[in-house]
Symmetry: C2
Subunit: 330 residues, 2 copies
């Protein structure tokens, strides 16, 4: 007999969820964060069943982990060096098994345990579809990364390879377009792990802060690649009034990544790899690439607004199926 | 021809929503709140179509206003004397008219304009059901109101009448159980207004801070009556390990409120009146009641854990249909 949320009722559900927060944390109408002189960074992300996760590809613990990782990645990509915690709004039908919610919150707790911060508060309601909306709170370190701080002449760098999460999803979905049987097992394992348990790159931010050449100001363009590498570059260019030249040979492909379609497209637009994508002065970029294994240089910022070209033949970067639109694909 | 979210696509939707925030506010991965030495209060509430609002009873502007008011009421009931702003996660099917979303955000902006704070950030996604999850951020003033700070001997007071919002809902729903035709027009108008445009009681908090007798410490039990007056008293008692004696003659009934069923029940369990419910030492209570028109004393805190009785005959307070359970009523 499966115990559902309707069996529990709201009071018992809230009592059980409180077990995932510090004692007494959920007892008041609000959470209180002690006085802290550092600026506060805030981010909200919503993840919807069937769109951002699904029972077929994502165990409840992984859904919880990914929801937290997606939010913390935004904090890292803004310069946060401390995580206060998160609030969670949970919506789920009364037919939802408690075991699913329990797994979700175990994943949330595991991600917080790994990266810092606690469950600060939240709310729950019934609804026709499972979803969680998470708001993450953190403190700004010495470097505020802005999307609008890219400058012509900057080098484009990223903290790691791209496309793994998209491949992981295809493997978990048994996608029939996948070339079967001939992918290295290590690549497949890395892809599934990246999809299930992405890591917010606080380590890459820390390396960036630590390696800044003394003569340079604290100015760097940055975002994360939650919507894909190309979308990250487009966001930097659009907000900064710049363009970019991408180096096809140096795309941040994962190790053992096959050539051709759909591989380069997945690398550039697959999304959910949650790496930092930065626009840095040459010296700072070189220092960071030396300091951070797995990081890669893949292009350069230009002065031509919103122009995205390949560095060799200067052809426009055009990718079929680029960008994921929640509304248009619905 | 109705313009839907699917017609707009995600990029255009985000562009239009950014118009409700300060210029550039939604441009980064996170919102940044400047350094502030005061403790931060955080609250998250989720409102779901068909449960917390519906097209039949709530215009989109009113849904937006109520969503913000519900969140800010929690801040007021915790002691916040400054509102930084909110983040909004919007989930809506692609078939949702843009005019509905526009109205929702106009209501959000109007409530923020009235009470302070700006739209700090957010997220949006398609989904099968319209809902918004709001996280509100504010700063703690001199008094932190806690649910667990009620003490035996305290007086129970509230900032205003209860039951109006429930009556307003019944009127908007043309509830057939309503006694027809014989309710005063002024009561009906007040009820509909309270349901559509509830006011977070920052004014009542300010009065409370200003009238504290100098010899008393900054200790007061408090919460808001979003889930109903009785639920607020139960929350104070349960968190504080106390009980309460309620004075039936002094229930905070609205002016011209009829006698009998369902009126007293709606007063005690109707919910969504968003008044402050406080547990105060006698002297502080008297000072507050004098300072705040419309406030009322309605009971006393006792030392008997979780015992809720009427002050006259000491009978247990028992109300049919008390408390609303999202899950059980679904």
């Amino acid at each position: 007999m499966i115990e559902t949320l309707a069996d529990l009722g709201e009071a018992e559900l809230l009592r059980r969820l409180a077990g995932f927060a510090p004692v007494g944390q959920l007892d008041d109408d609000t959470a209180c964060l002690g006085a802290d002189p550092r600026p506060l960074l805030v981010n909200t992300d919503v993840l919807v069943d069937g769109i951002h996760f699904s029972d077929g590809t994502t165990a409840p613990m992984d859904a919880g982990w990914r929801a937290v990782a997606a939010n913390l990645s935004d904090l890292a990509a803004s310069g946060a060096d401390h995580v206060d915690g998160i609030t969670v709004a949970l919506v789920a039908p009364g037919t939802t098994p408690w075991s699913w919610v329990n797994g979700l919150y175990e994943g949330i707790a595991a991600a917080l345990e790994q990266h810092g911060g606690v469950l600060l508060g939240g709310d729950c309601s019934t609804g026709s579809q499972r979803l969680i909306s998470i708001t993450a709170l953190g403190r700004l370190g010495p470097l505020r990364l802005h999307r609008n701080a890219a400058r012509p002449g900057d080098v484009l760098v990223t903290s790691g390879p791209h496309g793994l999460s998209r491949l992981g999803l295809a493997l978990l979905q048994n996608d029939r377009h996948l070339p079967d049987g001939d992918l290295p097992e290590t690549l497949k394992a890395a892809a599934v792990a990246q999809h299930r348990r992405p890591i917010p790159r606080f380590d890459a931010l820390k390396a960036l802060v630590n390696c800044k050449p003394a003569q340079l100001p604290w100015r760097a363009g940055g975002t994360d690649s939650s919507d894909g590498l190309l979308a990250a570059v487009q966001a930097l260019c659009s907000s900064s009034g710049c363009g970019a030249e991408l180096d096809h040979a140096r795309l941040p492909r994962p190790g053992q990544w096959p050539l051709g379609e759909p591989w380069d497209r997945w690398c550039m637009t697959g999304g959910e790899d949650f790496e930092l994508v930065l626009s840095l002065p040459e010296d700072w970029a070189e220092a960071w690439l030396s300091a951070l294994p797995g990081s890669q240089r893949f292009g350069r910022i230009t002065a031509n607004p919103d122009s995205l070209i390949w560095s060799g033949d200067h052809a426009a970067v055009e990718l079929s199926g680029s960008g994921f639109d929640h509304y248009r694909s619905a």
